[in-house]
Structures are given as structure tokens and as C-alpha cells.
Amino acid sequence: MIDTEGLTKKFGDLTAVDDLTLHIDDGEIFGFLGPNGAGKTTTIRMLCCLISKTSGTATISGYEIGNKADSLKIRKLIGLVPDNVGLSEHLTAYDNLDFFGKIYDCTAGQRKDNIKRLLEMLGLWEKRNVLAGAYSKGMKQKLVIARALIHDPQILILDEPTANLDPEASKTVREFILQLKSEKKTIFLNTHNLDEAQRICDRVGIMNTQLKAIGKPQDLAKTVNGRRTVITIEQVSNAVIAALKKLSLKNLTADSNTLTFNVADPDKENWPAVEAIVQAGGHIRTVNVVGSDLEGTYLKLVRSEA
């Protein structure tokens, strides 16, 4: 559905996106994570044919980004929720949606049905005749999502859709995105919110000008950080520590009765550690494996750049 190969964007001497290669499947929710200035919005703008690429290739449903004839077709396939809501504040919610429906050649019947369906789903139908400028931030964000979906696009691209929203509004938006997944829409989600990405994305990419990592949130955390094993014993002795040091465990730490170390594969690496502790006279009480989270992975990858 979305493919990029070595996609690069430079603004003068500044490289905003460097050699981005990724593939996003039909019906997938893909989270694009990264700090401010990481090139996330620039990537979105390239995918939406709003700005040109410097080099590399990118296709959406087979249409090539950078090809003028394909640009209009790509824009028809996509619904964009930009980082700024950009509503016509002097028009009602209904008129905002109706205008965009007309641009996308929706018939009067389709517009009427889609507007009603979307506004009802987002809880805005009762306020359809209120000026968009009078809406709260959360309501505006919902309206922008409805606007992006007015032509029933196959691909939805969202740039920070829950930024600046209160928890309740964020939850509504997240639930709505998950609802769209059940409609088999492909969703490209730019977000700072790691918890959100972990909850709703099938896969995530961590971006900091270059794509640092890509994968399922849980797999990514394992791959990048590994996992930590926590063993509690009656008393940590020098003999136990010396025995464990022989195993070259990563990030081994110890206090009076807890030993902690990193493992890539707990099934293979924990057993020798347990054996070594027992042979050194340690009395084990518990062995636990603690998974690393996406936040740790993100911070590790982003900070390694600094």
C-alpha cells in the first residue's frame, strides 16, 4: 500500500528525512514515532504530495510520488489530518465537511450520508450547525478527522491527532482509529505519544531523520533493549556475584537479595545463571523476566543520536 525506498528530503543543507525505506501493508496501523524535528511531518507531506522529495522513491497503491499525473490520484486516495486543524472557522461543521465532500466528487447523497455517519460516530451531529470556530479543541480535532474521512479514503494519515487533547478526547480519537482499523483502512499515525502507539499500532517506526528501528511495539522493545531478568535470593554473596560474572551477563546489578541482568533470550540465558547461583550456594526464591517497554526503546534510540 505505502512503499518508500531511500526517500530523502533536504531543505538546503539541512537533511529532514534521510534514506527512509519502509513498507506499510493494507489495513495496517503504522505508528511513526520521533522527537520534534525528526522528519515525521516532512515525511507525511511528501507522502501526500504536498512537498517534493529530494531523492529516493515512494509509491502509494502503485502511484508514484513526484509524478505530477499521479499526485492528484494519490490525494484522492488519502485522507489527511494535519498537525494544525485548519478548519474554516467561519463555516459550520456541516459546511466544512460538505465543501470537502464536493471537492472529492462525492454525490449529494453520499455527502449527506457520510456527514451524518461521521458526525454521529464522533458525537458531533447535534452541533453540526455550530460554527467550527466555536468548537472546543477536542471537537475541532474530531471534526478534522471527519473531514479527512468524508470521501471514504483507503488511507488515513494522521499527524499528532491527539496532541493537546484532554484524556477523554484522546481516548475517543484512539477508539475511533481502532474502529477504522476494523473497516480495513490503512492508517499512518505520527505521534509523540508512545503509550498511544503501543496501544493501537500494529507496527511502529522510530524516526530521527533516519529510520532507527521498525517492528511490532513489543518486538521492537525486545530487539533493542532485550529483557531483564530479576532473581531474588536469600542473600547475595561474593561467591554468587563472582559466579555470575563468569557468564558475562549484561548490565548485572546486585543488592542484598536481588540480582538483575539483561538477557536477549530468557529461555536460553536464565538457566545457566540459575545453575551458577545454586552452585555458588545461593538459595533462589523467585526468577522473573521483565519486558522492556516502548518508551525505553524510543529513548534509547533517540538519545543515541544526541
Binding site: L50, P82, G86, Y104, R147
Partner: protein, 245 residues
């Protein structure tokens, strides 16, 4: 280019402009000056002593009629300046640029949204002006001077060309600056050619007759077409999205 899509943009902008009071002040004030003030001033001059000679009256009325062209340049400035920069201020341009509309359709829509209200206002004003002037001058001239072919040519040919020129110039300026005030200020540079025509007329360098008006209109129409293509060529989505602050 699909005219229907440009019309969509224009009708959306009409709805927005209806609720923007600050856009309407120049649209209302300048026409009132032309339609009311000029007949009143002439009436005042007529009532003092023996009044103005018929020849002077005709000269003055011809000069006054050129204010329609100056007005045509002035009135759409606020709408046209708002059309791009205003969207930038509301940040509503990015979603519009992300739609399958072409640059030409967006710009033509913006131009229409400024052109049509201006023409409606100017034609309404011209009716009031002609009626007022005829009432004031009938006694001296012995006939109704308006309507006549000269003013008809000016209103039906020269005026739309002048409005279009002002709009295209404003749109080009608007896509290069960051706020409505700057857009209006720079856009006002378009006055100078029209003031030049007015001065050339009052100093008798050119005569206001149908032939000369058609020549001027032809030049303006050629400039309109050139500016439209220039505006689409200089309308850079990327620059608007990445460099506007």
C-alpha cells in the same frame, strides 16, 4: 482546469467573507464616496453663483468616471489579500492543498471570489452614480448625460479587466507575504497605473473616449492573462507549507 472546482472554492470563500466584517469596510466606503459624494459635490458647485459651465461639467464627469477604475483596483484588495494569507492565518490552506485540486483551480476560485462581489458592488454603485449625476446636471445640460457608450465601455470592458488585474496582483503578493496587512499594503501598488491613467486624463494627455478605453482594456486583459499564468507559476505549495511562519 475544472471550472466547477474553482467555483466550489469561490462559493466557499463567499460564505467565509460574508462573516468577515473587516473585509467589507473598504467595499462599502469607497463606493459610497463615488456614488454619493461626487454628485453632492457637483450639486454644491452648481448651486454656487451661476454654477459650472457645461463644458467643465462634462470634463469633471469624465474624470469622475475614472474613479470607477481606481475603485475597481481598490475594492477587491481586501478580499484578494485575505484569500491566501487569511487561509494561512487560519491554517486552512494545508488541508486544501492536500485535496485533488490543482493550483490553477485554487487560484481561479480565489480570483472569482474577489471578482464577483466587486463587480456586483461597482455596477450597483454605477447605477446610483449615473442617476445622481443626471439629476444634478440635467438643468444645465438639458439632457441626461448618462447612460452613454463611453461609461458603458468603461464599466463593461475596462472595469472587469481592472478588477481582475488588481486581484491577480494581490494573489501573487499574498502568496509571498505572511500577514493580511502586508498583503494589502503591497497589493496597493497596483493603484499606480490606474492613478496614472487618471492623471493622464485630467492633464489631457489622453482623452476618455471609447477607442482609448478599448485600447487600455486590451492592455489590461493581456496583463490579466499574463498575471494569471505568473500566479500559477509562482504559487509554490512547498514554499507556502514550509516557509510561512
Amino acid at each position: 482546469m475544472r471550472f466547477s472546482k474553482a467555483w466550489l472554492v469561490a462559493t466557499r470563500d463567499f460564505k467565509v467573507f460574508r462573516k468577515q466584517k473587516n473585509i467589507w469596510y473598504p467595499i462599502i466606503v469607497f463606493p459610497i464616496i463615488i456614488a454619493v459624494l461626487f454628485p453632492v459635490v457637483l450639486n454644491y458647485a452648481q448651486t454656487r453663483n451661476e454654477g459650472l459651465p457645461a463644458e467643465t461639467l462634462l470634463d469633471l464627469m469624465n474624470s469622475f468616471s475614472l474613479f470607477f477604475i481606481i475603485g475597481a483596483a481598490f475594492i477587491p484588495l481586501s478580499i484578494a489579500s485575505y484569500s491566501i494569507v487569511g487561509e494561512k492565518v487560519e491554517k486552512s490552506l494545508e488541508p486544501l492543498l492536500a485535496t485533488p485540486l490543482t493550483d490553477g483551480e485554487i487560484l481561479l476560485g480565489k480570483a472569482l471570489s474577489a471578482l464577483l462581489p466587486t463587480l456586483v458592488v461597482m455596477y450597483a454603485v454605477s447605477a446610483v452614480y449615473m442617476f445622481g449625476m443626471d439629476q444634478v446636471t440635467f438643468g444645465k445640460l438639458g439632457y441626461y448625460y448618462y447612460p452613454n457608450w463611453t461609461l458603458g465601455t468603461l464599466l463593461l470592458v475596462l472595469l472587469p479587466a481592472a478588477v481582475a488585474l488588481s486581484i491577480m496582483f494581490s494573489i501573487i503578493v499574498s502568496s509571498k507575504v505572511n500577514d493580511v496587512r502586508s498583503a494589502t499594503s503591497y497589493g496597493a501598488l497596483i493603484f499606480f497605473p490606474f492613478i496614472g491613467i487618471y492623471l493622464a486624463s485630467t492633464t489631457h494627455i489622453i482623452t476618455i473616449d471609447i477607442n482609448n478605453l478599448l485600447i487600455i482594456a486590451g492592455i489590461l486583459l493581456a496583463a490579466d492573462v499574463a498575471l494569471f499564468f505568473l500566479s500559477t507559476a509562482t504559487f509554490r505549495r512547498e514554499e507556502i507549507l514550509t516557509k510561512w511562519k
